[in-house]
C-alpha cells in the first residue's frame, strides 16, 4: 500500500543554519511528490513538486528537494533558515489510485527556528 513517512515530528534549528526535512514514501510506480508548508491556523501552501526529469527541484522561498528513487526519499532542504520558516511541513505522494487525484500526506514535521 502507498504510504508517506515523515520520521521527524519536531525539528529545531537556529536561524541561518541549514535545514533538511525527511520524507520517505512507499509507492508502486514513479510517484508525483509534493512538499507543502502550513503556518498556524492556515491552509497549506505548495512549496515544490516533482513529476519527472531533474531529480533536484527548486521551489519557492529558497527551498529545494531531491528525489532519490533508490532510497524512496524526497527530502526538503534549505541552506539558510529564516525565522519566518517556522511552520509545519507536509510531504505528499500520489495519486494513490491510478487515474484519480487522491494523495497521501505525511503526518508533518513542525519546524521551530531559534533566533
Amino acid at each position: 500500500a502507498q504510504s508517506v513517512t515523515q520520521p521527524d515530528i519536531h525539528i529545531t534549528v537556529s536561524e541561518g543554519a541549514s535545514l533538511e526535512l525527511r520524507c520517505n514514501y512507499s509507492y508502486g510506480a514513479t510517484p508525483y511528490l509534493f512538499w507543502y508548508v502550513q503556518s498556524p491556523g492556515q491552509g497549506l501552501q505548495l512549496l515544490l513538486k516533482y513529476f519527472s526529469g531533474d531529480t533536484l527541484v527548486q521551489g519557492i522561498k529558497g527551498f529545494e528537494a531531491e528525489f532519490k528513487r533508490s532510497q524512496s526519499s524526497f527530502n526538503l532542504r534549505k541552506p539558510s533558515v529564516h525565522w519566518s520558516d517556522a511552520a509545519e511541513y507536509f510531504c505528499a505522494v500520489g495519486p494513490s489510485t491510478s487515474g484519480t487525484y487522491k494523495y497521501i500526506f505525511g503526518t508533518g514535521t513542525r519546524l521551530k527556528v531559534l533566533a
Binding site: 507536509f90 487525484y101 503526518t107
Partner: protein, 112 residues
C-alpha cells in the same frame, strides 16, 4: 488568478447539531475539489473529492456528506455532529491534467 474561499473560519457547535461548511473557487472552471480533515499529529485525511457537478467520491465512512451544487462550490455537511467531528477542515482544488492541489484557509470546527 485563482482564489479559494472557505467559511466560516471558525465554528463551535453542540453535539447533535447540523453542519454546513462551504468552499468556493474563483478564477477557474471545472476544478477538481477536495475536502480534507486535519487532526493534530495525524496529517491530512481525504474525506471527499469531486471531479464534476454532482460527482462525489467518499473516502472514509463517516458522519459527513458532501455536495457540489455548482461547478465551483463544494459543501460539507452533517445532520448530527459527533465529538469526533472536531478538527480543521480544508478545502482544496486542482485542475484536471495537473496534479498540484491548492488549499483554502480552512475552518476550525469544535464540537462541544
Amino acid at each position: 488568478s485563482q482564489t479559494i474561499h472557505q467559511w466560516p473560519a471558525t465554528l463551535v457547535q453542540p453535539v447533535g447539531s447540523p453542519l454546513s461548511l462551504e468552499c468556493t473557487v474563483e478564477g477557474t472552471s471545472n476544478p477538481n475539489l477536495y475536502w480534507y480533515r486535519q487532526a493534530a499529529g495525524r496529517g491530512l485525511q481525504l474525506l471527499f473529492y469531486s471531479v464534476g457537478i454532482g460527482q462525489i467520491s467518499s473516502e472514509v465512512p463517516q458522519n459527513l456528506s458532501a455536495s457540489r451544487p455548482q461547478d465551483r462550490q463544494f459543501i460539507l455537511s452533517s445532520k448530527k455532529l459527533l465529538l469526533s467531528d472536531s478538527g480543521f477542515y480544508l478545502c482544496a482544488w486542482s485542475v484536471t491534467g495537473t496534479y498540484e492541489q491548492y488549499f483554502g484557509p480552512g475552518t476550525r470546527l469544535t464540537v462541544t
